[in-house]
Amino acid sequence: MSIFVDENTKVVVQGISPTSQGLYHGLRNRAYGTHVVAGTNPNRGGEEIEGIPVFATVAEAVEATGANASFISVPPKFAAAAIVEAAAAGVPFVVCITEGIPAIDEALAYNRLVREYPGTRLLGPNCPGIISPGKCNIGITSGDIAMPGGPVGIVSRSGTLTYQALHELSQQGVGQTTCVGIGGDPVPGTSFIDCLSAFEADQDTKAIMMIGEIGGSAEEEAAEFIASSVTKPVVSYVAGVTAPPGRKMGHAGAIISGSKGTAQAKMDALAGAGVTVALNPTEAGEAMVDVVRKLG
């Protein structure tokens, strides 16, 4: 089992053209084994690019191919509209990796989905995407660092640390059910809690690795949820212990204001919820290997 995607996921790549990022990543995802069934481009409806049929709109693509997921990597100024278009077309799972969407647009798109298209789950924006090893890869994660078979589910706010986490586990022979990068933006479509809840319900996931970072209060909220609703063991790492307060560290999300949102506060909250808190990604990998061995 896996969460959000599986071997039946059929992906439409929004904004496809011979030179687009969407095509580049879409082909990589297809090479991994993902069913990439369609692309969209308002000016290229009816064409075919690298064997991918192109439609003018997402609605037409869904109608013709039964796509049940979309992949968005269009530039920031078009991304919010692309998200809403996919939701309006009834796509239940939308992955947006675009970095640099204005916060105002992001907040508006998120709230429109909540109110007008509650059947759609958005992952991202500004995330590496999702991979269920051996089944489906939507986004920019390098498939060869992931290992099929479980039993670990990974959820992470940071892109490269997601890879690091996958790598640490795969190196030690520990596989993953699904690895979800929720992204570091101010208004992520999918939260830690959404993923924790899905992993808790997924029979094949036996343990959960959660990678957080400074800023906001998502880790603290996740800690509360873990304490009340997660029975599976959780190992966590929070990046940014040494980050100076009040400075943006690359992600719109990674900013500390006052004493709120510090790595220490987050680690304390997680430890208080019974989570094994590691001080660096390697230590987190080792702690998870221990957990998995004890599961037998």
């Binding site: 990543h25 920031p76 100024k77 640099g100 969407i101 204005p102 916060a103 105002i104 647009d105 907040a107 508006l108 998120y110 709230n111 429109r112 109110r115 590496p128 920019i140 994660t141 390098s142 060869d144 660092i145 992470s156 706010r157 940071s158 892109g159 490269t160 640390l161 997601t162 890879y163 690091q164 790598h167 570091g184 101010p186 208004v187 990678i211 970072e213 400074i214 906001g216 209060s217 998502a218 909220e221 790492y237 990046a239 940014g240 212990v241 040494t242 980050a243 100076p244 400075r247 560290m249 690359g250 992600h251 719109a252 999300g253 990674a254 790595a263 001080l279 660096n280 990604p281 390697t282």
Partner: protein, 382 residues
């Protein structure tokens, strides 16, 4: 991007938010001219992006031209917490009956816009927030609905603003919301928002942070650029398009991705060292970017070793390896470099580097090993 007070006020004015009559001055003579145009008495205010300027002597009241000359002369060049005053804002001084507080920002937990309004504004607002949180009336605005005048009226009433101020305040708050959304602000704050004895409500200060991600649709923001960065290293990095933050340590850091870069700082710290900077080169770790990154770090005299930590996702490690070698041909680097390269095409990348390794260019297999080595090369614990 944080704006200076005068920029924030001018930004407010574009959205119809009332501000005091005034203007900017870079010299004493310009200050005099602005004072004459605004009408005495005036306030002469230092333009620095740091709090507590009043207590530091950066805000003075002037009744006459001689007083303007005296204060402007004293404040220009004044050092306020490391920020040297280069510009003044001179405005007509307002009589104040009441000081309120108003702001909009994004509430990440609620995923809606958060408005805060208080009848107890002024310099102590942060204390009010702690000691008497009920004195701050909050409103969550769903971006789909926006802030209606009706909602603003209810909010103003809840905040217990003086009766005479309520209509004007509600209208002003709708304008502030428009400024915040259409103006793409991360923060739009007025403290104090004042009520004059004559019953007029207007903004006496402006704290505005713009969302850099929205710059593409605000060509008018160009005028704000270049006035922000105080750290020379950061200026150089910004010119090269790098995401760099200067710190105080001796290990220079280059990593791809903000999370990995932050994590690299943490690991260096755990190994007993301290980072000289945060530098995220993002996805495009080609030779140009790598050369620029090494140049910027090399220009920092505190740096004793450089740690390059790359985990290839889209970024291919063989490209990174080529980039490092090309960069080294172009730039003379004074500190030893420790490389940790992993991920997509890592094996090919390590092969490319194999013949070039020396005591000046070291490769380590893991992030932790690389951090230990870099800390040791920087002279051990700092």
């Amino acid at each position: 991007m944080d704006l200076f007070e005068y920029q924030g006020k001018q930004y407010f004015a574009r959205f119809g938010i009332p501000i005091s009559k005034g203007g900017v001055a870079d010299t004493v003579e310009e200050a005099v001219a602005q004072a004459e145009a605004s009408g005495y008495p005036v306030v002469v205010k230092a333009q620095v992006k740091v709090g507590g300027r009043g207590k530091a002597g950066g805000v003075k009241l002037a009744d006459t031209v001689d007083e303007v000359r005296l204060h402007a002369g004293n404040i220009l060049g004044l050092d306020i917490k490391g920020h040297v005053v280069k510009r003044l804002w001179v405005e007509h001084a307002s009589d104040i009956a009441k000081e309120y507080y108003a702001s909009f920002t994004l509430d990440r937990s609620a995923k809606k816009h958060l408005g805060m309004l208080s009848a107890e504004g002024g310099v102590e607002i942060e204390e009010v927030a702690v000691t008497n949180p009920d004195a701050i009336a909050i409103i969550h605005v769903d971006p789909v609905d926006g802030l209606t005048l009706e909602a603003a009226r209810g909010w103003v009433e809840r905040a217990n603003l003086d009766e005479v101020a309520r209509d004007q305040a509600a209208e002003l708050l709708v304008k502030l919301y428009t400024c915040y959304t259409e103006g793409d602000c991360d923060l739009a704050e007025i403290n104090p928002l004042i009520l004059t004895p004559g019953g007029r409500v207007h903004a006496l200060d402006a704290k505005v942070t713009l969302d850099d991600n929205a710059a593409f649709r605000h060509p008018e923001w160009e005028e704000f650029e270049g006035s922000d960065v105080e750290d020379e290293r950061e200026t150089r990095a910004k010119e090269r398009g790098l995401n760099y933050i200067g710190l105080d340590g001796s290990v220079g850091i280059i990593a791809n991705g903000a999370g990995l870069a932050m994590s690299t700082l943490d690991v260096v710290n755990q190994c007993g060292g301290s980072a000289a900077n945060f530098l995220d080169i993002g996805g495009g770790a080609n030779a140009d970017v790598m050369a620029a990154a090494l140049e910027v770090i090399n220009s920092d005299p505190a740096v004793r070793s450089i740690l390059v930590n790359i985990f290839g996702g889209i970024t291919r490690v063989d490209e990174v390896a080529k980039g490092v070698l090309e960069a080294l041909e172009r730039v003379e680097i004074s500190s030893p470099i420790v490389l940790r390269l992993d991920g997509t095409n890592a094996v090919a990348g390590r092969e490319i580097l194999a013949d070039h390794l020396s005591d000046r260019l070291v490769a380590e297999p893991t992030m932790l090993d690389a951090a230990r080595r870099a800390v040791a090369l920087a002279g051990g614990k700092s």
